[in-house]
């Protein structure tokens, strides 16, 4: 187990370097960012040259990348054009997005799995068809439509919530945005759980458990659900990374100042340091989440062993 984890961690190094290099090159392709700093007029050449020197933009891309990676390993992610350290931006943005992701994941787990179990156990009944229809609708409607619709209905028409999230972004404020962010994945989780449960319901071990006279609740939670969760856990695990990076739309609609906001602004202002820094951390989150998922398999299914 320990050796397996170490091997996986070592594998992350090339993935990490490759991903940052790609992002670095992509942002660089967009050209010189300094010209965008002076509005509709030309930056005076002396100041522009000085700024280029300061941000290291006068060096070759290879040199820039080497310096950047060197700094990253000492914990210095550089400075954004507005004079803020990127680490400072991360310190304000990541907690917000992590809270939003937690809310979204909780929705996926609680509502998604519950609905999945209910429909899986009552296949073909009206409940099943009803939920199936709803998930179909949720999957086919884009997030920004659901987001704007909920914002307008709950925020403006009925006045149940504030249409935008304050700068504190507390858990209670993030419930509706979290639901919007989770909606599509939630529908997938429901369907995955449903199929898995329906399939395993006829498995031998379930029949054995029922024959042993175990209470129905115990059969479902300990035997059926545990074995049916593997595909669902894989999905939710990879979804963590996707939710954190893909929250741009939701964060824009509800004015949440998280990772999506910083990335969007970074790209618009061609701020290499911000974009590369944030994406690097997201890549790390993705890798770690994947590792955790693989380790969780062993917990869920005793037949899986990591030597």
């Amino acid at each position: 187990m320990g050796r397996y984890v170490i091997r996986r961690l070592l594998q992350m190094i090339p993935v990490f370097i490759g991903a940052t290099l790609l992002i670095f090159l992509m942002v660089n392709v967009m050209g010189d960012p300094i010209a965008g700093l002076c509005g509709d007029r030309q930056c005076d050449p002396a100041t522009a040259a000085q700024l280029r020197r300061e941000f290291g933009l006068d060096k070759s891309v290879a040199q820039q990348y080497a310096t950047y990676m060197g700094n990253v390993f000492t914990g210095d992610f550089g400075t954004a054009f507005n004079g803020q350290e990127v680490t400072e931006l991360m310190a304000t943005a990541f907690p917000v997005t992590i809270r939003l992701t937690i809310v979204a994941i909780l929705f996926e787990i609680v509502i998604g799995i519950t609905l999945g179990v209910v429909t899986g156990l009552r296949r073909g009944r009206p409940v099943d068809s009803g939920v199936l229809l709803v998930t179909l609708v949720v999957i086919s409607v884009p997030t920004f439509v659901t987001g704007l619709l909920l914002q307008l209905l709950l925020g403006v028409e009925w006045g149940w919530i504030k249409p935008s999230v304050s700068s504190d972004a507390t858990f209670s404020e993030l419930i509706v945005p979290g639901l919007v962010l989770a909606s599509v994945s939630l529908a997938y989780v429901t369907r995955l759980t449903r199929t898995s449960i329906a399939e395993n319901r006829r498995a031998d071990y379930v029949r054995t458990a029922v024959a042993k006279g175990l209470p129905r609740r115990r059969v479902i939670t300990r035997h059926l659900l545990r074995n049916s969760l593997i595909p669902v856990v894989t999905f939710i695990g990879t979804d963590i990374g996707a939710l954190m990076g893909g929250a741009i739309v939701t964060e824009r609609i509800f004015n949440i100042h998280g990772v999506g906001f910083q990335l969007y602004q970074g790209i618009l202002r061609q701020n290499t340091q911000t974009v590369v820094g944030f994406v690097t951390v997201l890549v790390l989150v993705f890798l770690v989440a994947n590792l955790l998922v693989d380790l969780l398999y062993a917990v869920l299914d005793p037949r899986i062993r990591y030597a």
Partner: protein, 548 residues
């Protein structure tokens, strides 16, 4: 019925969600604030994260400018209604030759940290702004002051001085300014935020100051969370006569102006100073008379690549005039901009007023839509180079695509050739500016100009003077340069304006740029507010807003 149990759980979860959000709603009723007409109520307003550090000489866009306008007062201030430069901290500004100025400041002014505003506060601030090593993006404003070439060498070489030799402190209240050329309207430029004084606290601890800026204006910064919000409070110790009429302003950062508008609709925000284009259709029914749409000092034009021989040969002025006449400005401003733009008839802006140099109709026939004339002029001038051209613009902000396509349609229809004009979108603003400033474009391009100070000089010299800082198309005309030089030396303001207008006529006769429209500033506000107005820079006049 196990299934039913599960279903009940789900129902409970939903109930919890709704209950919790309802709690969130109640818990959040904050900025509203109390106060009923006694000037203690506070308001919340939309904001965008400023692009540069909030230093006066480093802030060149409206969002940072908003804050500076609240926490700073300079020697002069532009009247929010008329745009005229009026004395603020300046007791008097004397000159006998339009080149040497003696500036006396008023007694009793203080920064909100208790420090007195002295002549030194100004001189230090200006020296800081002009020094190359401080990377100040507005440094060029100090370019008229003697010694600028030493503190800010144009070629990026090593600076040989840290202070401007043209600035001398005489005593606590007096300092002198020597310019490197005659510039009669120099005092009127001093209302720009780059010229405000800075307290010692700034130079002692710049990082600390940037976290919580300290100025000498009607508001003081109470708290500042970078990237999300800034709370400004009325400063009771303020000595000026334009004391804040409200208790304070909370600026909230919005990523998307649509969300800000929705928040205004829901009563969660009091003031939105950028109504999204997509809402312009229903803004009248949503807000009624709580929507304002007033001229701002912004003009949009089409620039030409004069560095390209094809666009600079003799006779091309007729082609440019023809193109100008082929654009149906009226129709485009009505349908695409819902009247938030006004068709331009000169190269300045209505906010200058007739006295300041705005002359309605100076463009004359050349800005009137007339398809037949347009076609005739273009063929007389030898036709469009290569038979077709593109209009370049940045596609990331400002919904430029819509109007560029409309302008091209208008031209194509007038010429009866649907291949004559096409849009050329450039992905990002920075890339667009790069292509423009490095003279990579071979056709006309979008050119916008937001004035720095309400003077006709600011609409002409930086844009059309030979090799001027924003003369992107590299247009050059000896007559124009001569008239501008004369105007700058003229001590009588009325005569100077007249000379500038003559220079503008040279721009017209050569059609150095096609004027398209004057841009308006727009804002919407909640029922709690009254006396809301935008100044000529399209920034709300926060200190005059009354909260009930």
């Amino acid at each position: 019925m196990r299934g039913a149990t599960h279903a009940r759980w789900a129902a409970c979860a939903v109930a919890v969600v709704l209950a919790a959000t309802a709690c969130g709603d109640n818990g959040g009723g904050d900025e509203g604030g109390g106060g009923s007409g006694d000037g203690s109520g506070t308001l919340s307003a939309s904001w965008t994260d400023p692009q540069n550090p909030l230093e006066p000489a480093n802030t060149n866009e409206v969002q940072g400018g908003k804050v500076l306008d609240m926490i700073f007062r300079g020697l002069k201030r532009y009247n929010p209604k008329t745009g005229a430069a009026e004395d603020m901290l300046a007791e008097k500004i004397d000159t006998s030759d339009s080149q040497n100025f003696t500036i006396t400041i008023k007694d009793g002014w203080k920064f909100s940290n208790g420090e007195a505003v002295t002549a030194q506060s100004f001189v230090d601030a200006w020296n800081y702004g002009a020094s190359l090593k401080n990377n100040q993006k507005n440094a060029y404003f100090f370019g008229y002051i003697e010694g600028y070439d030493k503190t800010h060498p144009e070629d990026g070489g090593k600076q040989t001085a840290d202070t401007l030799s043209g600035l001398k402190v005489v005593d606590d209240k007096t300092f002198t300014v020597k310019l490197n050329q005659k510039f009669s309207t120099f005092p009127d430029t001093l209302g720009y935020s780059a010229f405000v004084p800075l307290p010692k606290a700034f130079f002692d601890d710049r990082a600390g100051w940037l976290k919580k800026p300290v100025g000498n204006g009607p508001y003081s910064v109470e708290s500042y969370t970078k990237g999300s919000q800034m709370a400004l409070k009325k400063w009771d110790g303020y000595t000026g006569d334009d004391k804040a009429q409200n208790g304070g302003v909370t600026l909230k950062v919005y990523t998307d102006n649509n969300t800000a508008y929705t928040d205004l609709m829901a009563g969660n925000l009091d003031l939105v100073d950028d109504v999204p284009a997509s809402q312009l259709r229903n803004v009248q029914s949503d807000l009624g008379d709580r929507y304002i749409n007033t001229p701002a000092g912004i003009i949009q034009t089409l620039g030409f690549p004069f560095y390209d021989k094809a666009w600079d040969r003799d006779g091309m002025e007729k082609v440019r005039q023809g193109l100008s006449r082929a654009i149906n400005r009226e129709q485009i401003t009505d349908t695409i901009f819902q009247k938030t733009r006004t068709p331009a008839t000169d190269w300045t802006s209505p906010v200058l007023g007739a006295e300041g140099g705005f002359k309605e109709g100076l463009c004359g026939d050349a800005c009137e839509y007339n398809a037949a004339e347009a076609k005739k002029l273009i063929s007389e001038g030898g036709g469009i180079p290569g038979g077709k051209f593109t209009i370049s613009y940045n596609a990331d902000t400002g919904s430029h695509k819509e109007w560029v396509d409309a302008v091209c349609n208008s031209i194509n229809n007038a010429l009866g050739d649907d291949k004559a004009c096409a849009g050329n979108p450039v992905g990002t603003f920075a890339d667009f500016r790069n292509q423009v400033s490095q003279q990579k474009l071979s056709g006309p391009f979008r050119a916008g100009w937001q004035m720095d100070y309400p003077l006709i000089q600011n609409f002409l010299q930086p844009l059309y003077y030979t090799n001027a800082s924003s003369n992107d198309g590299k247009w050059s005309n000896a007559d124009f340069d001569k008239l501008v030089d004369q105007a700058n030396q003229e001590t009588d303001t009325g005569k100077a304006v007249e000379l500038f207008q003559q220079a503008e006529e040279v721009v017209r006769d050569n059609m150095a740029a096609i004027p398209l429209w004057y841009q308006n500033g727009s804002a919407g506000y909640s029922e709690r507010l009254s006396n809301v107005a935008l100044n000529p820079f399209s920034v709300p006049v926060y200190d005059e807003i009354k909260v009930s």
